[in-house]
Protein backbone atom coordinates (compact mmCIF):
# COMPACT_ATOMS: atom_id res chain seq x y z
CA UNK A 1 0.00 0.00 0.00
CA UNK A 2 1.46 3.34 -1.08
CA UNK A 3 1.55 5.95 1.67
CA UNK A 4 1.49 9.72 1.32
CA UNK A 5 5.08 10.03 2.59
CA UNK A 6 6.25 7.70 -0.19
CA UNK A 7 5.82 10.67 -2.55
CA UNK A 8 8.42 12.77 -0.71
CA UNK A 9 11.33 11.58 -2.90
CA UNK A 10 9.34 12.54 -6.01
CA UNK A 11 7.82 15.92 -5.07
CA UNK A 12 9.67 16.97 -1.92
CA UNK A 13 8.80 17.18 1.77
CA UNK A 14 7.27 20.65 1.55
CA UNK A 15 4.57 19.59 -0.93
CA UNK A 16 3.50 16.76 1.37
CA UNK A 17 3.50 19.14 4.34
CA UNK A 18 1.08 21.37 2.41
CA UNK A 19 -1.25 18.44 1.80
CA UNK A 20 -1.29 17.61 5.50
CA UNK A 21 -1.90 21.27 6.34
CA UNK A 22 -4.96 21.48 4.08
CA UNK A 23 -6.35 18.14 5.24
CA UNK A 24 -6.40 19.46 8.84
CA UNK A 25 -9.16 21.86 7.74
CA UNK A 26 -11.28 18.98 6.41
CA UNK A 27 -10.90 16.51 9.27
CA UNK A 28 -14.56 16.61 10.26
CA UNK A 29 -15.90 16.22 6.70
CA UNK A 30 -17.13 13.00 5.13
CA UNK A 31 -16.90 12.63 1.37
CA UNK A 32 -18.45 10.15 -1.02
CA UNK A 33 -17.40 9.67 -4.65
CA UNK A 34 -19.86 8.08 -7.06
CA UNK A 35 -19.16 6.90 -10.61
CA UNK A 36 -20.27 4.10 -12.94
CA UNK A 37 -17.41 1.61 -13.04
CA UNK A 38 -14.99 0.27 -10.44
CA UNK A 39 -12.28 -0.55 -13.04
CA UNK A 40 -11.35 0.52 -16.57
CA UNK A 41 -10.89 4.05 -17.83
CA UNK A 42 -9.30 7.12 -16.28
CA UNK A 43 -11.97 7.97 -13.68
CA UNK A 44 -11.84 4.62 -11.89
CA UNK A 45 -8.06 4.66 -12.06
CA UNK A 46 -7.79 8.10 -10.46
CA UNK A 47 -10.34 7.29 -7.76
CA UNK A 48 -8.56 4.05 -6.86
CA UNK A 49 -5.48 6.14 -6.04
CA UNK A 50 -7.07 9.27 -4.54
CA UNK A 51 -9.57 7.66 -2.17
CA UNK A 52 -6.97 5.78 -0.05
CA UNK A 53 -4.72 8.86 0.08
CA UNK A 54 -7.57 11.13 1.25
CA UNK A 55 -8.36 8.60 3.98
CA UNK A 56 -4.73 8.45 5.02
CA UNK A 57 -4.79 12.24 5.31
CA UNK A 58 -7.65 11.86 7.78
CA UNK A 59 -10.57 12.80 5.51
CA UNK A 60 -13.20 10.06 5.62
CA UNK A 61 -13.71 9.29 1.94
CA UNK A 62 -15.61 6.47 0.32
CA UNK A 63 -16.46 5.44 -3.23
CA UNK A 64 -19.70 3.98 -4.51
CA UNK A 65 -20.64 2.73 -7.99
CA UNK A 66 -24.09 2.99 -9.55
CA UNK A 67 -25.75 -0.07 -11.07
CA UNK A 68 -27.14 -0.27 -14.58
CA UNK A 69 -28.00 -2.84 -17.21
CA UNK A 70 -26.77 -3.06 -20.79
CA UNK A 71 -29.56 -0.75 -22.00
CA UNK A 72 -28.57 1.95 -19.52
CA UNK A 73 -24.90 1.85 -20.48
CA UNK A 74 -25.77 1.91 -24.18
CA UNK A 75 -27.68 5.12 -23.54
CA UNK A 76 -24.93 6.67 -21.39
CA UNK A 77 -22.38 5.78 -24.08
CA UNK A 78 -24.57 7.70 -26.54
CA UNK A 79 -24.65 10.60 -24.06
CA UNK A 80 -20.89 10.41 -23.77
CA UNK A 81 -20.46 10.59 -27.54
CA UNK A 82 -23.05 13.37 -27.86
CA UNK A 83 -21.30 15.50 -25.22
CA UNK A 84 -18.15 15.07 -27.28
CA UNK A 85 -20.17 16.55 -30.16
CA UNK A 86 -20.72 13.32 -32.12
CA UNK A 87 -24.09 13.04 -33.86
CA UNK A 88 -26.10 10.38 -32.03
CA UNK A 89 -29.62 9.16 -32.58
CA UNK A 90 -31.08 9.59 -29.11
CA UNK A 91 -34.75 8.78 -28.73
CA UNK A 92 -37.36 9.58 -26.10
CA UNK A 93 -37.07 5.93 -25.05
CA UNK A 94 -33.32 6.42 -24.38
CA UNK A 95 -34.06 9.26 -21.96
CA UNK A 96 -36.69 7.09 -20.28
CA UNK A 97 -34.19 4.24 -19.84
CA UNK A 98 -31.72 6.70 -18.31
CA UNK A 99 -34.29 8.10 -15.90
CA UNK A 100 -35.62 4.69 -14.89
CA UNK A 101 -32.19 3.31 -13.97
CA UNK A 102 -31.36 6.61 -12.28
CA UNK A 103 -34.48 6.30 -10.12
CA UNK A 104 -33.37 2.83 -8.99
CA UNK A 105 -29.96 4.19 -8.07
CA UNK A 106 -31.48 7.22 -6.33
CA UNK A 107 -33.43 4.90 -4.04
CA UNK A 108 -30.51 2.53 -3.41
CA UNK A 109 -27.45 4.74 -2.95
CA UNK A 110 -27.08 6.58 0.35
CA UNK A 111 -25.90 10.16 0.04
CA UNK A 112 -25.88 11.62 3.53
CA UNK A 113 -22.14 12.49 3.59
CA UNK A 114 -21.08 16.17 3.82
CA UNK A 115 -19.82 16.24 0.25
CA UNK A 116 -21.08 14.08 -2.62
CA UNK A 117 -18.70 14.00 -5.56
CA UNK A 118 -20.39 12.74 -8.73
CA UNK A 119 -18.20 11.73 -11.67
CA UNK A 120 -19.43 12.02 -15.27
CA UNK A 121 -23.02 11.90 -16.60
CA UNK A 122 -24.02 8.33 -15.68
CA UNK A 123 -24.81 9.08 -11.98
CA UNK A 124 -25.72 12.77 -12.54
CA UNK A 125 -29.42 12.32 -11.63
CA UNK A 126 -28.53 11.30 -8.07
CA UNK A 127 -28.65 15.04 -7.31
CA UNK A 128 -32.36 14.44 -6.75
CA UNK A 129 -31.23 13.13 -3.34
CA UNK A 130 -29.59 16.45 -2.36
CA UNK A 131 -30.45 17.72 1.09
CA UNK A 132 -28.42 20.36 2.94
CA UNK A 133 -25.09 18.78 2.02
CA UNK A 134 -22.73 19.89 -0.80
CA UNK A 135 -22.73 18.27 -4.24
CA UNK A 136 -20.05 18.49 -6.93
CA UNK A 137 -20.35 17.26 -10.51
CA UNK A 138 -17.04 16.35 -12.10
CA UNK A 139 -17.21 16.30 -15.92
CA UNK A 140 -14.27 14.33 -17.28
CA UNK A 141 -15.50 14.71 -20.87
CA UNK A 142 -14.74 17.36 -23.50
CA UNK A 143 -17.99 19.32 -23.34
CA UNK A 144 -16.81 22.21 -25.52
CA UNK A 145 -19.26 21.47 -28.31
CA UNK A 146 -21.97 19.20 -26.91
CA UNK A 147 -25.11 18.02 -28.65
CA UNK A 148 -27.72 20.52 -27.45
CA UNK A 149 -30.48 17.97 -26.84
CA UNK A 150 -28.37 15.89 -24.46
CA UNK A 151 -26.69 18.88 -22.81
CA UNK A 152 -30.01 20.59 -22.11
CA UNK A 153 -31.30 17.35 -20.60
CA UNK A 154 -28.23 17.08 -18.33
CA UNK A 155 -28.30 20.79 -17.53
CA UNK A 156 -31.53 20.32 -15.58
CA UNK A 157 -29.48 18.24 -13.13
CA UNK A 158 -26.24 20.25 -13.33
CA UNK A 159 -27.80 23.51 -12.15
CA UNK A 160 -28.71 21.92 -8.83
CA UNK A 161 -25.09 21.15 -7.96
CA UNK A 162 -22.99 23.45 -5.77
CA UNK A 163 -19.99 23.27 -8.10
CA UNK A 164 -18.94 21.78 -11.41
CA UNK A 165 -15.40 20.74 -12.33
CA UNK A 166 -13.94 20.59 -15.85
CA UNK A 167 -10.54 19.34 -17.01
CA UNK A 168 -9.84 22.15 -19.50
CA UNK A 169 -11.09 25.75 -19.83
CA UNK A 170 -12.64 25.09 -23.26
CA UNK A 171 -14.93 22.42 -21.78
CA UNK A 172 -16.86 24.90 -19.69
CA UNK A 173 -20.00 26.70 -20.79
CA UNK A 174 -22.21 29.37 -19.25
CA UNK A 175 -23.86 27.80 -16.20
CA UNK A 176 -25.45 29.33 -13.11
CA UNK A 177 -23.08 27.25 -10.95
CA UNK A 178 -19.49 27.85 -9.83
CA UNK A 179 -17.12 26.11 -12.24
CA UNK A 180 -13.59 25.02 -11.39
CA UNK A 181 -10.68 23.92 -13.51
CA UNK A 182 -8.91 20.81 -12.23
CA UNK A 183 -6.83 18.63 -14.50
CA UNK A 184 -6.59 14.93 -13.82
CA UNK A 185 -3.27 13.35 -12.92
CA UNK A 186 -1.08 10.30 -12.96
CA UNK A 187 0.40 8.48 -10.01
CA UNK A 188 4.18 8.17 -10.38
CA UNK A 189 4.32 5.31 -7.87
CA UNK A 190 1.53 3.18 -9.30
CA UNK A 191 2.17 -0.08 -11.15
CA UNK A 192 1.42 1.82 -14.34
CA UNK A 193 4.08 4.45 -13.86
CA UNK A 194 6.76 3.21 -11.48
CA UNK A 195 10.30 2.65 -12.77
CA UNK A 196 10.75 -0.83 -14.26
CA UNK A 197 13.81 -3.01 -14.57
CA UNK A 198 14.96 -4.01 -18.05
CA UNK A 199 14.06 -7.64 -17.33
CA UNK A 200 10.52 -6.69 -16.33
CA UNK A 201 10.01 -4.88 -19.65
CA UNK A 202 11.49 -7.78 -21.60
CA UNK A 203 9.24 -10.29 -19.84
CA UNK A 204 6.15 -8.47 -21.12
CA UNK A 205 7.52 -8.17 -24.66
CA UNK A 206 8.23 -11.91 -24.57
CA UNK A 207 4.74 -12.72 -23.27
CA UNK A 208 3.10 -10.94 -26.19
CA UNK A 209 5.72 -11.92 -28.81
CA UNK A 210 6.78 -8.37 -29.57
CA UNK A 211 10.25 -8.33 -31.16
CA UNK A 212 12.42 -5.24 -30.71
CA UNK A 213 14.21 -5.48 -34.04
CA UNK A 214 12.62 -2.30 -35.38
CA UNK A 215 11.20 0.92 -33.91
CA UNK A 216 7.94 0.41 -32.04
CA UNK A 217 5.06 2.89 -32.40
CA UNK A 218 2.40 2.38 -29.76
CA UNK A 219 -1.06 3.61 -28.93
CA UNK A 220 -2.55 2.32 -25.70
CA UNK A 221 -6.21 3.18 -25.37
CA UNK A 222 -9.60 1.59 -25.04
CA UNK A 223 -10.98 0.24 -28.33
CA UNK A 224 -13.16 3.23 -28.94
CA UNK A 225 -13.84 5.12 -32.20
CA UNK A 226 -13.04 8.41 -30.48
CA UNK A 227 -9.48 7.11 -29.94
CA UNK A 228 -9.26 6.58 -33.74
CA UNK A 229 -7.42 3.22 -33.83
CA UNK A 230 -8.11 2.96 -37.58
CA UNK A 231 -6.47 6.37 -38.06
CA UNK A 232 -3.45 5.12 -36.12
CA UNK A 233 -3.06 2.24 -38.59
CA UNK A 234 -3.16 4.78 -41.44
CA UNK A 235 -0.44 6.83 -39.70
CA UNK A 236 1.70 3.71 -39.35
CA UNK A 237 1.22 2.82 -43.04
CA UNK A 238 2.44 6.26 -44.12
CA UNK A 239 5.47 6.08 -41.81
CA UNK A 240 6.25 2.54 -42.95
CA UNK A 241 6.74 3.76 -46.53
CA UNK A 242 9.95 5.50 -45.44
CA UNK A 243 10.94 4.01 -42.08
CA UNK A 244 10.62 0.34 -41.23
CA UNK A 245 8.74 0.08 -37.97
CA UNK A 246 6.17 -1.92 -36.02
CA UNK A 247 2.81 -0.79 -34.65
CA UNK A 248 1.29 -1.89 -31.36
CA UNK A 249 -2.33 -1.10 -30.63
CA UNK A 250 -3.10 -2.23 -27.11
CA UNK A 251 -6.20 -1.67 -25.04
CA UNK A 252 -9.22 -3.16 -23.44
CA UNK A 253 -12.85 -2.38 -22.85
CA UNK A 254 -14.75 -1.10 -19.81
CA UNK A 255 -18.09 -2.38 -18.54
CA UNK A 256 -19.72 0.97 -19.26
CA UNK A 257 -18.61 0.84 -22.94
CA UNK A 258 -20.66 -1.67 -24.95
CA UNK A 259 -19.13 -0.51 -28.28
CA UNK A 260 -15.66 -1.76 -27.37
CA UNK A 261 -15.74 -5.25 -28.90
CA UNK A 262 -17.27 -3.97 -32.13
CA UNK A 263 -14.40 -1.50 -32.58
CA UNK A 264 -11.85 -4.18 -31.68
CA UNK A 265 -13.09 -6.43 -34.52
CA UNK A 266 -12.97 -3.50 -36.97
CA UNK A 267 -9.34 -2.91 -36.01
CA UNK A 268 -8.46 -6.61 -36.41
CA UNK A 269 -9.99 -6.58 -39.88
CA UNK A 270 -8.06 -3.48 -40.89
CA UNK A 271 -4.74 -4.94 -39.66
CA UNK A 272 -5.11 -8.51 -40.82
CA UNK A 273 -2.66 -8.45 -43.76
CA UNK A 274 0.27 -6.80 -41.97
CA UNK A 275 2.45 -8.89 -39.63
CA UNK A 276 4.07 -5.76 -38.22
CA UNK A 277 0.81 -4.62 -36.69
CA UNK A 278 0.19 -6.13 -33.27
CA UNK A 279 -3.27 -5.80 -31.77
CA UNK A 280 -3.68 -6.66 -28.09
CA UNK A 281 -7.07 -6.77 -26.42
CA UNK A 282 -5.69 -6.89 -22.91
CA UNK A 283 -7.19 -7.61 -19.55
CA UNK A 284 -6.69 -4.71 -17.15
CA UNK A 285 -3.00 -4.90 -16.22
CA UNK A 286 -1.17 -1.74 -15.20
CA UNK A 287 2.24 -3.36 -14.99
CA UNK A 288 2.01 -4.58 -18.59
CA UNK A 289 0.84 -1.19 -19.86
CA UNK A 290 3.82 0.36 -18.08
CA UNK A 291 6.22 -2.10 -19.74
CA UNK A 292 4.71 -1.62 -23.20
CA UNK A 293 4.95 2.16 -22.94
CA UNK A 294 8.55 1.96 -21.77
CA UNK A 295 9.44 -0.44 -24.61
CA UNK A 296 8.06 1.95 -27.24
CA UNK A 297 10.01 4.41 -29.36
CA UNK A 298 7.11 6.75 -30.09
CA UNK A 299 3.76 6.92 -28.32
CA UNK A 300 0.72 7.97 -30.32
CA UNK A 301 -2.58 9.35 -29.01
CA UNK A 302 -4.48 10.10 -32.17
CA UNK A 303 -7.82 10.74 -30.51
CA UNK A 304 -10.65 12.50 -32.32
CA UNK A 305 -12.01 13.70 -28.99
CA UNK A 306 -10.45 13.37 -25.60
CA UNK A 307 -11.50 14.22 -22.06
CA UNK A 308 -7.96 14.79 -20.99
CA UNK A 309 -5.82 12.02 -22.45
CA UNK A 310 -3.95 10.72 -19.41
CA UNK A 311 -2.05 8.25 -21.58
CA UNK A 312 -0.11 11.29 -22.84
CA UNK A 313 0.96 12.20 -19.30
CA UNK A 314 1.88 8.56 -18.64
CA UNK A 315 4.08 8.42 -21.73
CA UNK A 316 5.74 11.77 -21.03
CA UNK A 317 6.46 10.70 -17.45
CA UNK A 318 8.43 7.82 -19.01
CA UNK A 319 10.35 10.36 -21.13
CA UNK A 320 8.82 9.07 -24.35
CA UNK A 321 8.31 11.29 -27.40
CA UNK A 322 4.56 11.62 -27.94
CA UNK A 323 2.65 12.46 -31.12
CA UNK A 324 -0.92 13.35 -30.21
CA UNK A 325 -3.99 15.07 -31.62
CA UNK A 326 -4.55 18.63 -30.47
CA UNK A 327 -7.86 17.81 -28.79
CA UNK A 328 -9.27 18.04 -25.28
CA UNK A 329 -6.71 18.39 -22.54
CA UNK A 330 -3.79 17.19 -24.65
CA UNK A 331 -2.65 20.74 -25.46
CA UNK A 332 -2.32 21.35 -21.71
CA UNK A 333 0.20 18.51 -21.57
CA UNK A 334 2.15 19.10 -24.77
CA UNK A 335 3.72 22.31 -26.01
CA UNK A 336 4.21 21.61 -29.71
CA UNK A 337 7.81 20.80 -30.67
CA UNK A 338 8.93 21.39 -27.08
CA UNK A 339 7.43 18.60 -24.99
CA UNK A 340 5.89 16.52 -27.78
CA UNK A 341 4.24 16.95 -31.16
CA UNK A 342 0.64 18.05 -31.70
CA UNK A 343 -1.16 17.10 -34.90
CA UNK A 344 -4.51 17.59 -36.62
CA UNK A 345 -4.49 14.87 -39.28
CA UNK A 346 -3.17 11.46 -40.28
CA UNK A 347 -0.59 13.10 -42.56
CA UNK A 348 0.50 15.49 -39.83
CA UNK A 349 0.89 12.67 -37.32
CA UNK A 350 2.85 10.53 -39.80
CA UNK A 351 5.20 13.42 -40.56
CA UNK A 352 5.83 14.02 -36.85
CA UNK A 353 6.53 10.32 -36.21
CA UNK A 354 9.04 10.25 -39.09
CA UNK A 355 10.78 13.37 -37.75
CA UNK A 356 11.21 11.69 -34.38
CA UNK A 357 12.31 8.30 -35.73
CA UNK A 358 14.87 9.96 -38.00
CA UNK A 359 16.17 12.24 -35.22
CA UNK A 360 16.39 10.21 -31.99
CA UNK A 361 18.16 13.02 -30.12
CA UNK A 362 15.22 15.32 -30.86
CA UNK A 363 12.80 12.65 -29.62
CA UNK A 364 14.83 12.30 -26.43
CA UNK A 365 14.71 16.05 -25.78
CA UNK A 366 10.93 16.10 -26.28
CA UNK A 367 10.60 13.28 -23.75
CA UNK A 368 12.81 14.98 -21.16
CA UNK A 369 10.95 18.29 -21.41
CA UNK A 370 7.67 16.40 -21.26
CA UNK A 371 8.61 14.63 -18.04
CA UNK A 372 9.53 17.92 -16.38
CA UNK A 373 6.19 19.43 -17.36
CA UNK A 374 4.26 16.44 -16.01
CA UNK A 375 6.25 16.51 -12.79
CA UNK A 376 5.35 20.15 -12.20
CA UNK A 377 1.70 19.98 -13.17
CA UNK A 378 0.08 16.58 -13.55
CA UNK A 379 1.07 14.35 -10.65
CA UNK A 380 -1.43 12.98 -8.16
CA UNK A 381 -0.14 15.21 -5.35
CA UNK A 382 -1.28 18.33 -7.25
CA UNK A 383 -4.63 16.66 -7.92
CA UNK A 384 -5.08 15.76 -4.27
CA UNK A 385 -4.27 19.33 -3.26
CA UNK A 386 -6.80 20.81 -5.70
CA UNK A 387 -9.58 18.42 -4.69
CA UNK A 388 -9.09 19.35 -1.05
CA UNK A 389 -9.10 23.07 -1.94
CA UNK A 390 -12.26 22.45 -3.95
CA UNK A 391 -13.91 20.89 -0.89
CA UNK A 392 -12.89 23.91 1.19
CA UNK A 393 -14.16 26.33 -1.44
CA UNK A 394 -17.68 24.91 -1.02
CA UNK A 395 -17.80 26.58 2.39
CA UNK A 396 -16.25 29.92 1.35
CA UNK A 397 -17.25 32.39 -1.31
CA UNK A 398 -14.32 34.81 -1.49
CA UNK A 399 -11.34 35.04 -3.86
CA UNK A 400 -8.81 35.12 -1.01
CA UNK A 401 -9.47 32.82 1.94
CA UNK A 402 -7.39 32.93 5.12
CA UNK A 403 -7.04 29.99 7.51
Amino acid sequence: MIKIDDYIPVVGQAVIDDLKRISEKLKDRKIKNINSTPVGGGVAEILSRLVPLLNELGIQTCWDVIKGGENFFEVTKKFHNAIHGKKEDISKRDFEIFLKTSEENISQIRTEEDIIFIHDPQPIALIENKKDNKWIWRCHIDASNPDKKVWNFLKKFIINYDAVVFSAPAFSSPLPVRQFLISPSIDPLSEKNRELKKEEIESVLKKYNIPKDKPLLTQISRFDRLKDPIGVIEVYKRVKKNVDCRLLLAGGTAIDDPEGMEVYYEVLEKAKHDKDIIILNMQHNDFEVNALQRASDVILQKSIKEGFGLTVAEALWKEKPVVASNVGGISLQITHKYSGMLCYSIDGAAFAVKQILNNPAYGKKLGLNGKEHIKNNFLITRHLKEYMLLFLSLYHNKDIIYF
Partner: protein, 222 residues
Protein backbone atom coordinates in the same frame (compact mmCIF):
# COMPACT_ATOMS: atom_id res chain seq x y z
CA UNK B 1 27.77 38.29 12.01
CA UNK B 2 24.30 39.71 12.58
CA UNK B 3 22.53 38.15 15.57
CA UNK B 4 19.98 40.85 16.12
CA UNK B 5 16.73 39.45 17.49
CA UNK B 6 13.56 41.07 16.22
CA UNK B 7 10.77 42.08 18.60
CA UNK B 8 8.15 40.62 16.31
CA UNK B 9 8.78 37.44 14.33
CA UNK B 10 8.43 36.88 10.62
CA UNK B 11 5.59 34.41 10.17
CA UNK B 12 5.76 32.31 7.03
CA UNK B 13 2.45 31.81 5.27
CA UNK B 14 1.80 29.81 2.15
CA UNK B 15 -0.68 30.39 -0.62
CA UNK B 16 -2.31 27.60 -2.55
CA UNK B 17 -4.63 28.31 -5.40
CA UNK B 18 -7.58 26.87 -7.23
CA UNK B 19 -8.64 27.98 -10.72
CA UNK B 20 -12.24 29.07 -11.10
CA UNK B 21 -13.70 29.36 -14.60
CA UNK B 22 -15.53 32.65 -15.13
CA UNK B 23 -17.47 31.62 -18.25
CA UNK B 24 -16.15 34.66 -20.20
CA UNK B 25 -14.51 33.92 -23.57
CA UNK B 26 -12.94 36.15 -26.23
CA UNK B 27 -12.21 35.37 -29.87
CA UNK B 28 -10.86 38.75 -31.02
CA UNK B 29 -9.21 41.88 -29.61
CA UNK B 30 -12.48 43.77 -29.31
CA UNK B 31 -14.01 41.05 -27.16
CA UNK B 32 -10.79 40.74 -25.15
CA UNK B 33 -10.82 44.46 -24.37
CA UNK B 34 -14.48 44.46 -23.41
CA UNK B 35 -14.00 41.62 -20.92
CA UNK B 36 -10.69 43.00 -19.59
CA UNK B 37 -12.54 46.13 -18.48
CA UNK B 38 -15.10 44.29 -16.39
CA UNK B 39 -13.49 41.03 -15.27
CA UNK B 40 -12.49 40.65 -11.61
CA UNK B 41 -8.98 41.57 -10.50
CA UNK B 42 -8.51 37.92 -9.51
CA UNK B 43 -8.71 37.03 -13.20
CA UNK B 44 -6.17 39.67 -14.28
CA UNK B 45 -3.94 38.38 -11.51
CA UNK B 46 -4.37 34.77 -12.64
CA UNK B 47 -3.49 35.45 -16.27
CA UNK B 48 -0.43 37.54 -15.44
CA UNK B 49 0.98 35.26 -12.73
CA UNK B 50 -0.06 31.71 -13.59
CA UNK B 51 3.12 31.00 -15.51
CA UNK B 52 5.28 31.74 -12.46
CA UNK B 53 4.01 28.67 -10.67
CA UNK B 54 3.16 26.45 -13.60
CA UNK B 55 6.53 26.80 -15.32
CA UNK B 56 9.02 26.57 -12.53
CA UNK B 57 11.79 25.76 -14.94
CA UNK B 58 12.80 27.79 -17.98
CA UNK B 59 10.29 27.20 -20.72
CA UNK B 60 9.28 28.78 -24.02
CA UNK B 61 6.07 30.18 -22.55
CA UNK B 62 5.73 33.96 -22.71
CA UNK B 63 5.19 35.50 -19.30
CA UNK B 64 1.49 36.16 -19.46
CA UNK B 65 -1.55 34.47 -20.95
CA UNK B 66 -2.71 37.55 -22.85
CA UNK B 67 0.59 37.74 -24.75
CA UNK B 68 0.52 34.01 -25.46
CA UNK B 69 -3.01 34.06 -26.85
CA UNK B 70 -2.53 37.18 -28.94
CA UNK B 71 0.44 35.44 -30.62
CA UNK B 72 -0.88 31.89 -30.90
CA UNK B 73 -4.60 32.56 -31.29
CA UNK B 74 -4.56 35.76 -33.36
CA UNK B 75 -1.08 35.76 -34.92
CA UNK B 76 -0.41 39.31 -33.66
CA UNK B 77 3.26 38.87 -32.81
CA UNK B 78 4.03 42.57 -32.33
CA UNK B 79 1.24 43.07 -29.82
CA UNK B 80 2.27 39.85 -28.11
CA UNK B 81 5.75 41.24 -27.59
CA UNK B 82 4.37 44.49 -26.20
CA UNK B 83 2.14 42.61 -23.74
CA UNK B 84 4.87 40.16 -22.76
CA UNK B 85 7.28 42.96 -21.97
CA UNK B 86 4.94 44.89 -19.67
CA UNK B 87 7.09 45.46 -16.61
CA UNK B 88 4.76 44.06 -13.94
CA UNK B 89 7.12 44.97 -11.09
CA UNK B 90 6.42 48.67 -11.79
CA UNK B 91 2.80 48.34 -10.72
CA UNK B 92 1.62 48.30 -7.15
CA UNK B 93 -1.98 47.25 -7.78
CA UNK B 94 -3.92 44.98 -10.10
CA UNK B 95 -5.95 48.02 -11.15
CA UNK B 96 -2.85 49.75 -12.52
CA UNK B 97 -1.72 46.57 -14.26
CA UNK B 98 -5.14 46.09 -15.83
CA UNK B 99 -5.09 49.67 -17.14
CA UNK B 100 -1.65 49.16 -18.67
CA UNK B 101 -2.80 46.00 -20.48
CA UNK B 102 -5.93 47.74 -21.76
CA UNK B 103 -3.97 50.82 -22.91
CA UNK B 104 -1.41 48.65 -24.71
CA UNK B 105 -4.10 46.83 -26.66
CA UNK B 106 -6.07 50.02 -27.41
CA UNK B 107 -2.98 51.80 -28.71
CA UNK B 108 -2.05 48.84 -30.88
CA UNK B 109 -5.53 48.69 -32.42
CA UNK B 110 -5.37 52.41 -33.29
CA UNK B 111 -1.97 51.93 -34.95
CA UNK B 112 -3.02 48.64 -36.62
CA UNK B 113 -6.73 48.89 -37.43
CA UNK B 114 -6.72 45.58 -39.32
CA UNK B 115 -5.87 43.76 -36.09
CA UNK B 116 -9.49 44.27 -34.99
CA UNK B 117 -10.61 41.90 -37.74
CA UNK B 118 -8.43 38.98 -36.67
CA UNK B 119 -10.51 36.16 -35.29
CA UNK B 120 -9.31 33.10 -33.36
CA UNK B 121 -10.49 29.64 -34.40
CA UNK B 122 -13.51 28.35 -32.53
CA UNK B 123 -11.29 26.05 -30.45
CA UNK B 124 -8.70 28.74 -29.70
CA UNK B 125 -10.65 31.29 -27.72
CA UNK B 126 -9.29 33.08 -24.66
CA UNK B 127 -11.00 31.67 -21.57
CA UNK B 128 -10.97 33.94 -18.55
CA UNK B 129 -10.13 32.16 -15.33
CA UNK B 130 -9.70 33.58 -11.85
CA UNK B 131 -7.44 32.55 -9.01
CA UNK B 132 -8.97 31.57 -5.68
CA UNK B 133 -6.22 31.85 -3.07
CA UNK B 134 -6.10 29.85 0.15
CA UNK B 135 -3.63 31.31 2.63
CA UNK B 136 -2.31 29.02 5.37
CA UNK B 137 0.05 29.67 8.26
CA UNK B 138 2.99 27.27 7.91
CA UNK B 139 3.94 27.21 11.59
CA UNK B 140 7.36 28.72 10.91
CA UNK B 141 8.24 31.85 12.91
CA UNK B 142 11.70 33.40 12.87
CA UNK B 143 13.35 36.18 14.87
CA UNK B 144 16.84 36.45 13.34
CA UNK B 145 18.38 36.69 9.91
CA UNK B 146 19.98 33.25 10.31
CA UNK B 147 16.66 31.64 11.25
CA UNK B 148 15.00 33.43 8.33
CA UNK B 149 17.60 32.04 5.96
CA UNK B 150 17.19 28.50 7.32
CA UNK B 151 13.44 28.48 6.84
CA UNK B 152 13.65 30.14 3.43
CA UNK B 153 15.84 27.32 2.18
CA UNK B 154 13.22 24.67 2.99
CA UNK B 155 9.86 26.39 2.60
CA UNK B 156 7.71 25.62 -0.49
CA UNK B 157 7.88 27.87 -3.49
CA UNK B 158 4.19 28.63 -2.81
CA UNK B 159 5.24 30.37 0.39
CA UNK B 160 7.91 32.41 -1.38
CA UNK B 161 5.35 33.20 -4.07
CA UNK B 162 2.86 34.47 -1.50
CA UNK B 163 5.32 36.77 0.29
CA UNK B 164 6.92 38.11 -2.89
CA UNK B 165 4.12 38.37 -5.47
CA UNK B 166 0.72 38.03 -3.88
CA UNK B 167 1.21 40.34 -0.93
CA UNK B 168 2.92 43.06 -2.95
CA UNK B 169 0.50 43.28 -5.87
CA UNK B 170 -2.74 41.52 -4.98
CA UNK B 171 -2.86 42.63 -1.36
CA UNK B 172 -1.37 46.02 -2.38
CA UNK B 173 1.29 46.14 0.35
CA UNK B 174 3.63 48.02 -1.99
CA UNK B 175 6.72 46.06 -1.04
CA UNK B 176 7.34 42.34 -0.66
CA UNK B 177 6.90 40.91 2.86
CA UNK B 178 10.53 39.82 3.22
CA UNK B 179 11.90 43.32 2.60
CA UNK B 180 9.27 44.85 4.88
CA UNK B 181 10.19 42.68 7.85
CA UNK B 182 13.94 42.82 7.31
CA UNK B 183 13.78 46.62 7.11
CA UNK B 184 11.30 47.31 9.90
CA UNK B 185 12.07 44.54 12.40
CA UNK B 186 15.75 43.80 11.82
CA UNK B 187 16.59 47.35 10.67
CA UNK B 188 18.69 45.92 7.82
CA UNK B 189 17.84 48.56 5.25
CA UNK B 190 20.46 47.54 2.75
CA UNK B 191 19.46 43.88 2.54
CA UNK B 192 15.80 44.88 2.39
CA UNK B 193 16.55 47.20 -0.51
CA UNK B 194 18.63 44.57 -2.32
CA UNK B 195 15.78 42.04 -2.10
CA UNK B 196 13.24 44.63 -3.16
CA UNK B 197 15.39 45.51 -6.17
CA UNK B 198 15.20 41.98 -7.62
CA UNK B 199 12.77 41.69 -10.53
CA UNK B 200 11.02 38.46 -9.49
CA UNK B 201 9.21 38.20 -12.81
CA UNK B 202 12.41 37.34 -14.64
CA UNK B 203 13.41 34.52 -12.29
CA UNK B 204 12.16 31.00 -11.83
CA UNK B 205 10.91 30.43 -8.29
CA UNK B 206 13.96 28.37 -7.33
CA UNK B 207 16.32 31.01 -8.73
CA UNK B 208 14.47 33.60 -6.70
CA UNK B 209 14.89 31.55 -3.51
CA UNK B 210 18.62 31.10 -4.18
CA UNK B 211 19.17 34.78 -5.01
CA UNK B 212 17.55 35.93 -1.75
CA UNK B 213 19.45 33.35 0.30
CA UNK B 214 22.71 34.50 -1.30
CA UNK B 215 22.05 38.15 -0.36
CA UNK B 216 21.26 37.20 3.25
CA UNK B 217 24.20 34.80 3.62
CA UNK B 218 26.57 37.47 2.39
CA UNK B 219 25.35 39.75 5.21
CA UNK B 220 25.48 37.00 7.84
CA UNK B 221 29.04 36.06 6.95
CA UNK B 222 30.27 39.67 7.19
Amino acid sequence: MNEFIADSPFKFYTRLHLSELTGYKAYNLKELLKILKKISGSSIYYHTHRYLQQHQYLSPEPPNDFAYWVKEGLGEDKLAEKLASIDTIQFSSIRELRNKIIDTIKKYIIENPLSKKRQANSNQGFYFIKAISFVFYTGYEVFTLQEFCNVLSKITIDSIYYHIFESRLRLEKGKNDFSNWIENSLFEKQIAAEIDKIDPYTHTMEELRNTIIKIIKKRIEK
